[in-house]
């Protein structure tokens, strides 16, 4: 059994990536991601892992460099945050269209403006439709596990898609907490070397990223969409294998005391465990409440989310980003869409919480649930938690 150690989560993520036999990484520093890139660079410089670490001049170059390297068949990694992710934006859909397996750690941080370096999900949300597999983690151990799983998912012959691992900035990246690393031998067994479906090599030239006009564009995008939807099978299989090998289970939608709950709270990311305490407190008072934690953001787990939510009377969806002028938070929009065709569906309440690092306490969760319980908030609008009037 692996030993439990205390380590800052960002460093632990770099260590975990270092266990994955990567060939190349390109990372540009940005708070709160920087400790991942710095530590990975240390691991390479100290000769602890045999990989190229390319110091690039921007995030746009970082993602472009790993796309090129992935095209040659290499196992590649990058990590970024906020404005860095925004700068990568134009390249993200190209990576997925080219069906190149990449793994990217995102230390989720608010997007400017105003300039803010703290945690929310406004950086990943604009990337939602770029065709990447997008997974959220809620603690350091999950950050390690999913960072390793991500390579296996991305490189699987039925997937060949980029994967991003969403790790809440500061709340996770800057936390020293207990984690355990899987044994290297087991990681090697779990994660065999990449077998690319095609690679750039002078002895066997191929064309990647070719031009396509209206006569083929729709078919190519349809193929990409099917690939992303189909990737869920592989994700589930990889999580199953992980559970068997390492004893920790992962599901697209996790639940906590959701059985028989009339009100379900839904969170995504690092606030899940804090929310569990709120559920415990309210259950102790006799309230039929439960928690749903959305782990898999893309491909969106429609079947699983419907199964969990449809029996509840009320669902309180929390979002860590704003879809300005839209129907509520981006997560809430998806939840509503998922349930629209159900004959019996719960009332859905939308709360925007924890923007730009604003703390959300156990008491905040209990008071939100309380307001929903007493119907002091409406289903046809969305609330900004704690906003000063």
């Amino acid at each position: 059994m692996a030993k439990r150690v205390g380590m800052e989560v960002a460093l632990a993520v770099a260590e975990a990536v270092g266990q994955c036999n990567i060939d190349m990484a390109a990372v540009y520093p940005i708070t709160p991601q920087s400790h991942i890139g710095e530590h990975l660079s240390d691991l390479v410089a100290d000769g602890k892992i045999d990989a190229e670490f390319v110091t690039v001049e921007s995030e746009h170059s970082a993602i472009s460099a790993i796309i090129g390297a992935s095209g040659t068949g290499a196992r590649v990694y990058t990590a970024t945050s906020s404005q860095g992710l925004m700068l990568m934006h134009e390249i993200l859909p190209i990576a997925s269209a080219m069906r190149l397996p990449l793994v990217m750690g995102i230390a989720n941080r608010a997007v400017s403006g105003p300039l803010n370096i703290l945690n929310d999900h406004s950086d990943i949300m604009p990337q939602r439709d770029s065709g990447w597999i997008s997974i959220f983690v809620e603690n350091g151990q999950e950050a390690i596990d999913v960072s390793i799983q991500a390579f296996k998912i991305a490189e699987h012959k039925d997937v060949n898609l980029p994967v991003c691992v969403n790790i809440d900035g500061f709340q996770l990246t800057h936390m020293v907490e207990p984690v355990e690393f899987p044994d290297q031998e087991l990681v090697d067994k779990f994660l065999p070397p990449r077998v690319p479906f095609a690679s750039l090599h002078p002895s066997n030239p191929v064309t990647m990223g070719a031009f396509a006009m209206s006569d083929y564009f729709t078919e190519i995008l349809k193929a990409k969409d099917e690939a992303l939807k189909n990737s869920k099978k592989t994700i589930l299989a990889v999580w199953d294998e992980w559970a068997k090998m390492f004893g920790r289970t992962y599901k697209p939608v996790e639940t906590y005391k959701a059985d028989g709950a009339e009100i379900l709270l839904l969170t995504m990311g690092s606030m899940g465990e804090t929310a569990e305490i709120a559920i415990d407190e309210l259950r102790a008072k006799g309230m039929a409440v439960g928690l749903v934690k959305l782990r898999l953001w893309r491909p969106f787990p429609f079947a699983e989310i419907k199964e969990v939510l449809k029996k509840a009377k009320k669902v309180l969806v929390t979002d860590r980003a704003v879809s300005f002028g839209g129907p509520g938070g981006p997560v809430c929009g998806e939840i509503k869409a998922a349930l629209y065709n159900e004959a019996e569906r719960p009332a859905i309440y939308s709360y925007i919480i924890g923007l730009g690092g604003r703390d959300v306490t156990v008491g905040d969760f209990t008071s939100m649930i309380d307001k929903v319980n007493r119907e002091e908030v409406n289903t046809d609008t969305y609330e900004f938690l704690g906003v000063r009037e």
């Binding site: 205390g6 709160p32 500061f170 020293v176 907490e177 465990e273 804090t274 690092g357």
Partner: protein, 182 residues
């Protein structure tokens, strides 16, 4: 669960302290968190860092607003920062100062336990630098008794290498020399 808030100035090593404490606690089989006050790091500016230690897995990830213990690495912060803010009335305040604990207790009008130690003098003597962050871990361990001082040995050796023994000596002295006023 014990929650600790550390006050220091940017560069005085409050973050290192919470990291070492968490690592040592985890090393002896406990559960712990160590984290900075999130945000930009500015040398000399007042900063805070936080520790949580428990026997069972810690779920909460929100901030610490009602700490059981406050550690002040630099007494010049008193008056500049409200160091007893939210500190439980029966909590513990540990200050790096030459003053007697009774004087600090009176000055801050704090109802709980106050402990003082001249950690800067100890650090200057043992480490050759007036940086009291590791020294104050010794003072904290004396007051909260969550683990033996020896439990820090492996963590400190891993972190400081050849100057580890000096840090351990400074911690031991603070552990022994701390003065307490209930």
């Amino acid at each position: 669960m014990i929650e600790v808030r550390w006050h220091g100035r940017g560069g005085q090593g409050a973050v290192t302290s919470v990291e070492l404490l968490a690592q040592a606690a985890i090393g002896v089989g406990k559960y712990a968190q160590g984290f900075p006050s999130f945000g930009p790091e500015r040398r000399g500016a007042p900063v805070a860092a936080f520790s949580r230690i428990d026997e069972k897995r810690i779920k909460v990830r929100s901030g610490i607003y009602k700490p059981d213990v406050v550690v002040v690495l630099d007494s010049s912060l008193i008056g500049l920062v409200n160091v007893t803010d939210g500190l439980k009335p029966d909590g513990i305040l540990i200050v790096n100062t030459t003053k007697a604990p009774a004087d600090v207790k009176k000055e801050l009008n704090f109802s709980g336990t106050v402990a003082t130690v001249d950690a800067t003098a100890i650090a200057r003597k043992e480490l050759g630098v007036p940086i009291a962050n590791t020294t104050m871990i010794g003072a904290l361990i004396k007051m909260i008794k969550v683990m033996e001082l020896d439990s820090l040995k492996e963590t400190v050796e891993h972190r400081f290498g050849r100057i580890a023994q000096k840090n351990l000596a400074a911690m031991k002295r603070a552990y022994e020399e701390i003065k307490i006023s209930n």
